[in-house]
Symmetry: C2
Subunit: 220 residues, 2 copies
């Protein structure tokens, strides 16, 4: 890229970062812990949110969900509402990622005061979301077994920026050639010591350690 | 977007389309059929290319592969070379899709004259590649069963622009809640009568009708 183009990109990212800081402040003011949940299409982000809601309900944790989609569909937000939690849908209008402005617009529409946790479900994409901070407290990626064990090597940027990694669909391990050591080596190279939970959202296996980790972050 | 920003985006897409036409001409001049192969990360694009190479080898079809990746890795092109076919790697440097300029650079490096077919493996992404024509003869998407049956509804743009749809990983159907009717309804709404092949790259099931379709396009 030419020097001028690099400057324009830097300005956009700088403006995004400033708005992200302001989003973070708004979460902090009301004591809400917030997560930017990223993944490939179909890795199981919504199923993971639903299992997390189910697991925290007994403790009375209130969870708001912000659903990013590239099209005007309410498939995911309908599921969250059916689980008894408020959801706001963001239609990016074809854009490949959420950014801090879109999140600001969404939290303008959401009553944060009764909430303990906000989960932002980013657009299904392993590339573009990595470049745009939203202002959430943590970046969490849902990787899934059928995607294959080479994903950290192919999409390094998103792995470098993670606070937590979820390995989903472990129930499919018997049916798929997935070398867990090779996968974990790739992750370790990019993000040493990354907090990782292996789960199956279908069977519920492995969810408890994640729920314990999350409860430790929620001020309730 | 403001009117000025829309004009800039239109100019970029217009320049891309003109280069795509020139790429198409270069393929036509040497009688090479070309495919833009798109998919989510991990849907099985490379496995599908390898199975296609295997299936056409007996007929002496020569296949060149252009591998798009966002990082400087040669995992996929190494596999193609091991299968005895030439591969060129494009590192997009973090960009989320290939475009006509990148393809032009790749075919500059590839000797097209002995080839019958070129397969361009786009970056794993269901959003951005849909907006950029490469100049290939057909757009083919590899969807996979574990991604879920709601993907056409959530990523409509990519489905609208397809010439062929491959539904991969049918061997996993017994282990996954996937409603094929719901999936196909979504596809039919966006792209009526779309040519579709259901396959398992693991077992090889369903590959023959695809190979027959492809042979019909290759001038050899």
């Amino acid at each position: 890229m030419s020097e001028n183009r690099i400057k324009i990109v830097e300005k956009i990212l700088d403006a995004n970062d400033r708005l992200a800081n302001s989003n973070r402040q708004r979460f902090n003011e009301v004591g809400v812990y917030s997560i930017n949940l990223m993944a490939s299409p179909g890795a199981g982000k919504t199923s993971f949110i639903l299992k997390t809601i189910e697991g925290l309900m007994a403790d009375g944790v209130q969870i708001g969900v912000i659903e990013g989609d590239t099209a005007p569909v309410t498939i995911d937000s309908d599921k969250i509402n059916a689980a008894g939690m408020p959801a706001i849908q963001i239609n990016t209008g074809g854009e490949c990622h959420l950014d801090a402005v879109m999140l600001e617009n969404a939290i303008d529409q959401m009553d944060l005061s009764p909430l303990d946790l906000v989960i932002v479900e980013n657009v299904g994409n392993l590339i573009c979301p990595a470049a745009f901070a939203l202002g959430t407290h943590s970046n969490v990626l849902v990787a899934s077994i059928p995607e294959g064990d080479d994903k950290p090597y192919k999409y390094p940027n998103i792995y470098r920026g993670l606070d937590v990694l979820i390995i989903n669909k472990t129930d499919l391990l018997p049916y798929i050639d997935f070398n867990m050591d090779y996968f974990r080596q790739g992750v370790e190279m990019l993000n040493p010591g990354l907090t990782t939970f292996a789960v199956s959202c279908k069977t519920g296996e492995g969810m408890d350690p994640w729920l314990e980790w999350l409860k430790g972050r929620i001020s309730k």
